[in-house]
Symmetry: C2
Subunit: 310 residues, 2 copies
């Protein structure tokens, strides 16, 4: 049975890590401000699929004290990724795998330099969850993940044994898993949702249901989705037209949701502006795509992010 | 000496009307909520050019009680223009002139149907002022106006005697006046400022100085200005490239300013979204201009305007 390290015990790491613990895996959590609280009180998951508490979890506030694990899940906010060059070598076994369970673009390359490209997987989390308090995760909706293999040039990897291996563990933990033969396309597809809803939820200060109900913001979300698809196509990762309607309807079906970017903004934390907007935007422009609305949203968010700290 | 009616005694009507009174003109103000207060306490102008109070002004809350005047200045928010078909015939003399002292597009045509096209002038106000309280106008910066003659087809009128006549009165009142031979171009030029700064001040919740200081919002303002210029050119009203730099520097020179659209939003009043964004946008699209950022800003503002009332 593989050992897991969870780097960042928040809405993503706290949820998926707890599911793995419950399935009997040996899991080690790195936490920052919550470490002592989790050690004293355990990890509480309030989930639409059933609440549970893990009274005793292996939690650390220093990676140097963690054992080297077979699989390391990076579940930090991308804005904290600067700690990875220090943390990762301590927690990943030789030939161990690293799961990049983050939104957006541009981090797998750096991580591959540490762990080796063949050992890096991207994991996209389709989940509405947030940290309700120290060591307390609230899971509102969805929860499935898509796993893909990182490749240096962004070309499709197909379905690799490593992907299947990890997928089997997550499936055992009761998580719905898809494997993607083409990680880059999967990441662009995730952006088809993230760009409009993460961005507009902050700029328009709104929940997902309000954005989808009002014809102006719904039209704007759809226009932004079209730009993301145009960008993906320009980068040789075309997305089928029907996916736009699918994402609009997926959002219609959601429990009204405050996106994690909006939560970060409201809590005056740094937002993942570069991961979700800046890096894909630069890739799109480099590939010659016309993405003026993405560009405008990026600049609006960057302004709000910078002013939010003041 | 001509008689003046001022329809709307706020940041614009209260300021310019008071200046005309002080210069000896016979001025009649239509006010709504402030009428009794102004009748009892007069009109107070706190201005960077010197404060003054007019203890006795002719103020009305019903147009039916007003005398018909030689010149009627429409200084309402464009969102209140629905009262004009009722009000204007009561307050404008036969062959009297109507000054449309409002931002944006699309209202002179309606007014020309009432007053006759040859009697309608557009007046653009370059002023930072706001209503600080009932009958109390605060004037922060600038104050010059541009007068142009309305024409049915939007073609240049040249400098008409009526324009010169009105310009002479405003000059007598100590107001710096320019006459524009081409009103439509003058209105587009005004939008080069209004679209970025009115729009972004609301969406990004910021004063003019913050918008200009941050490189992201300054770049966004400049991109929006370029789109407005492209729209104006497509509508056969080209604006010289240098005007963009001029407007950026004009804004740099301003006292940090909360735009009147931002004040409306903060006070939960309806914003002039159609006048400043919707009408010009539709004209631009009809003329074949590519204006995706204007379109995005319009939809963002319309969403915010609609949700603001809830």
């Amino acid at each position: 049975m593989k050992t897991y390290a969870i780097i960042g015990t928040g809405a993503i790491g706290g949820f998926y890590g707890a599911k793995l613990v419950r399935a009997g895996f040996d899991v080690h959590f790195l936490a920052h401000s919550d470490c002592k609280h989790i050690r004293d009180h355990g990890l509480v998951v309030e989930s639409k699929d059933g609440d549970f508490t893990l009274p005793n979890v292996n939690v650390y506030n220093n990676a140097a004290n963690m054992p080297a694990c077979d699989v390391v899940a990076v579940t930090l906010k991308a804005t904290a990724n600067h700690i990875l060059p220090d943390v990762l070598p301590k927690v990943v076994k030789n030939n161990g795998a690293v799961l990049v369970m983050q939104n957006g673009f541009g981090y797998e390359e750096e991580i591959a330099k540490i762990a080796g490209p063949n050992h890096v997987l991207g994991v996209l989390c389709f989940i509405c969850s947030y940290k309700a308090g120290p060591g307390h995760i609230r899971h509102l909706d969805f929860g499935h993940i898509t796993i893909g293999q990182y490749t240096k040039d962004g070309s499709p990897s197909g379905i690799t044994p490593l992907m299947q291996d990890i997928a089997a563990d997550f499936t055992k933990a009761g998580i719905s898993v898809r494997t993607a033969p083409d990680l880059a396309t999967a990441r662009w597809k995730k952006l088809v949702w993230n760009v409009p809803y993460s961005g507009l939820s902050v700029v328009l200060s709104a929940l997902t249901d309000a954005l989808n109900k009002n014809p102006c913001s719904r039209g704007l979300a759809e226009s932004l989705m079209r730009e993301v698809c145009a960008a993906a196509a320009a980068c040789s990762h075309p997305i089928e037209e029907a996916y736009i309607r699918e994402m609009l309807e997926y959002t219609d079906s959601m429990t009204p949701y405050r996106t994690s970017m909006k939560i970060d903004f409201d809590e005056k934390r740094k937002m993942e502006v570069e991961a979700i907007f800046g890096n894909p935007l630069r890739a799109a422009i480099k590939a010659g795509a016309k993405v003026p609305m993405m560009e405008m949203l990026y600049r609006e968010l960057k302004f709000m992010d910078e002013e939010n700290g003041k």
